[in-house]
């Protein structure tokens, strides 16, 4: 008997259908020599300092131009490890499926998971599947917990930033959130609008080689660049940031679409863009390193750390005015990752 075309409550029962789903669909796609058998827990070994992170994915719709919830579930969690200076090694994955979810769609998601994991060089070594009744869940939710090994002894932290440091961005902003919104609302904005969902580890690894000159990195996901920059200096009594609005790389389609929708590209979520703070003298080398990667081609400096307004991010606008760049407020775009 093959797996039914749609997920049923019994697929999450722990019984025969659960086992069938795991053995015939999940395991063939994600199984590997790290867990040669289906056990309750999987052993793994990492030398030295390790990092762990967890993230839950509820994006609506689960499939969008440039990726799907599976791609996001791998890259998102691995990016959280990477920006902390860790090489992603192992992941666990919890699936919450809604009764009636097409099995073919689940297969597509799992194939994306496998492909994304291979791209980052991370292995999914444990998992769980639950099914909720029809109408009680958004089709598919997933959670991944990631473990990574430290690239070195240097700890990246907002506490490292100093006056005069350079603030860099790895690529053009705003495409993920807009792609999700356009797809969900059926906005005919343009076929070029794709999520930027991508692994940041190679970029992070390259920058980490700068040693102590690399102060801090953070991927600019929910809340966009505005949120990350604010979190970087929040509560800091000596340092704030001075940022130039026109320095940000923004694609034509993102600029046009966000203008049309009344959104600020700096507040829109990204899934393959990060902010890095480096010592001023290391900035040009950092940019050269970033630009060797396809997704870092447009990397550039967007501002500097300043003592003028401690704890605040000041934006120099396109017309040369100055204002606070605040944390995004209100619900801009729900369920984007």
């Amino acid at each position: 008997m093959s797996i039914s075309a749609r997920i049923t409550l019994e697929h999450g029962s722990g019984g025969a259908l659960s086992r069938q789903l795991t053995e015939e669909l999940i395991y063939p796609l994600l199984g590997n020599d790290a867990y040669p058998e289906l056990a309750d827990a999987t052993a793994f070994e990492i030398d030295g300092r390790s990092f762990i992170t967890t993230d839950t994915y509820v994006v609506d719709p689960p499939f969008f131009p440039g990726g799907d919830i599976g791609t996001l579930g791998i890259f998102g969690t691995c990016n959280d490890l990477a920006v902390c200076g860790a090489r992603p090694r192992f992941l666990t994955m919890g699936l919450i499926l809604e009764e009636g979810f097409p099995t073919a769609d689940l297969r597509r998601v799992l194939e994306s998971v496998r492909e994304a994991a291979e791209q980052v060089g991370v292995r999914v070594i444990s998992g769980d599947t639950k099914v909720v009744p029809s109408g009680k869940g958004g089709g598919i939710f997933l959670n991944t917990t990631g473990v990574g090994e430290a690239l070195g002894d240097h700890l990246l932290s907002v506490n490292n930033i100093r006056e005069g440091d350079s603030v860099l961005i790895s690529g053009p902003v705003g495409s993920h959130g807009l792609a999700i919104l356009a797809n969900r609302e059926g906005l005919k904005i343009g076929a070029d609008l794709r999520s930027d969902c991508a692994p940041l580890f190679p970029l992070c690894e390259a920058l980490y080689a700068l040693g102590g000159s690399l102060r801090f990195m953070r991927d600019a996901t929910r809340g966009g660049v505005a949120a990350v920059l604010n979190e970087t200096v929040a509560g800091n009594r000596t340092c704030g940031m001075e940022i130039q609005e026109t320095a940000f790389p923004i694609s034509g389609i993102v600029a046009a679409a966000s203008d049309l929708l009344g959104l600020n590209p700096l507040e829109i979520a990204n899934e393959g863009v990060m902010i890095a703070v480096t010592a001023a003298e290391a900035a040009s080398e950092a940019l050269s390193l970033l630009r060797t990667f396809e997704i870092g081609r447009e990397a550039c400096q967007v501002g500097e750390v300043s003592s003028r307004n401690p704890g605040r991010v000041i934006l120099e606008t396109a017309v040369g005015g100055r204002r606070i760049l605040d944390l995004p407020r209100g619900l801009l775009l729900p369920r984007i990752c």
Partner: protein, 332 residues
């Protein structure tokens, strides 16, 4: 003074205010519709809801404004009897599908009024009888008159609202050219529009002129939009209105005309008349008249923030206090 809330936000967001020399101060006026609506209006709407008299439909910002006891309509969002609309056209399906009376919180300036009027008239033509309007519409020119008439006024000119002017045109501002008037320039919303509007006001001030000028000709025709005004006039007629921060201003509101009075929620549900009462310590009333800057209010950024607002100027996305809080007040 920029009269319009959208101007306030555009100025702050583009940082235009930080580019001006020290002797030019932009103050925000009464151009945020949520902000000029009295607290007692919220109390009456809460009362309609809580007595089961009607379901409430509103634009989003209004729901977060605290009533006189601090409660707001947003607290009832989960009940299914409070709905947010982005376009008045949504009123038609909502009223049609509802089994109870539906009251729309009809606030807004001349920009918003025609779309509400059009939706209401369309609902009537479709035979929908359970839709009521709780009107607190306001008109901009009477408020400008009130500001000019104030004995201690501190204004040298107006940036006149671009969107409102698209509807009403230039003529309703002509009283600004009379003795006691000040320069008034109809202004757009892009940074260069704003700078051009400010420059035009300054030129008039230097030359000692007081003229109504249109610096937003790509959107505003001298005669405005007669078709939109015709739709307003089919449904509504001028009446005195109570403004938060100002009190009663003659002929500054719009209420349902004689033929449609049965749909007036205030009359139908015998709602008590509106009055002005401010929360203790809240200076929104003075902020709306441009007498006090948001940062001069002791509550600003402390007890009153966008997440937990005390007064309406901190609630509305177009509110003066919210804009100051978000984008900073002077050169940061």
């Amino acid at each position: 003074m920029e009269v319009c809330g959208t101007h306030t936000v555009a100025i702050r967001r583009s940082g235009v205010h930080s580019l001006l020399p020290d002797n030019i101060l932009l103050v925000s006026g009464p151009g945020c519709p949520v902000c000029v609506t009295p607290t007692s209006y919220i109390d009456n709407a809460l009362n309609l809801l809580e007595t089961g008299a009607a379901a409430i439909v509103s634009f989003g910002d209004m729901l977060k404004v605290p009533g006189s006891d601090g409660r707001n309509l947003a607290g009832y969002m989960g009940s299914g009897r409070v709905r947010i609309v982005y376009s008045p056209a949504e009123l038609i399906p909502i009223a049609r599908d509802s089994t109870e009376a539906v009251v729309f919180l009809a606030i807004g300036f001349e920009t918003t009024v025609p779309t509400v009027a059009a939706a209401f008239l369309q609902a009537r033509r479709a035979g929908i009888e359970n839709l009521f309007l709780y009107t607190a519409f306001k008109m901009v020119p009477p408020a400008l008159r009130a500001l000019l008439a104030s004995p201690d006024r501190n204004l040298d000119g107006f940036l006149l609202p671009g969107h409102v002017s698209v509807i009403i045109g230039e003529q309703p501002y002509i009283f600004l050219e009379e003795p006691g008037g000040v320069p008034g320039v109809i202004t757009g919303f892009e940074p260069l529009d704003l700078l051009q509007g400010i420059l035009s006001v300054l030129k008039q001030v230097i030359r000692g002129e007081r003229r109504v000028e249109n610096a937003y000709t790509r959107a505003v025709r001298p005669e405005g939009n007669p078709k939109a005004r015709e739709i307003m006039e089919q449904l509504l007629e001028p009446a005195d209105a109570l403004w938060r921060g100002f009190g009663r201003i003659p002929a500054s509101g719009l209420v349902l005309g004689h033929d449609h009075r049965a749909a007036d929620a205030g009359l139908h549900f015998s709602l008590p008349p509106l009055y002005n009462a401010e929360p203790p310590g809240c200076l929104c009333a003075q902020v709306l008249q441009g007498r006090v800057l948001p940062t001069e209010c002791a509550l600003f950024g402390k007890r009153c923030t966008p997440e937990s607002p005390v007064g309406p100027c901190m609630v509305s996305s177009e509110g003066t206090c919210a804009a100051s809080f978000r984008y900073g007040d002077a050169e940061p």
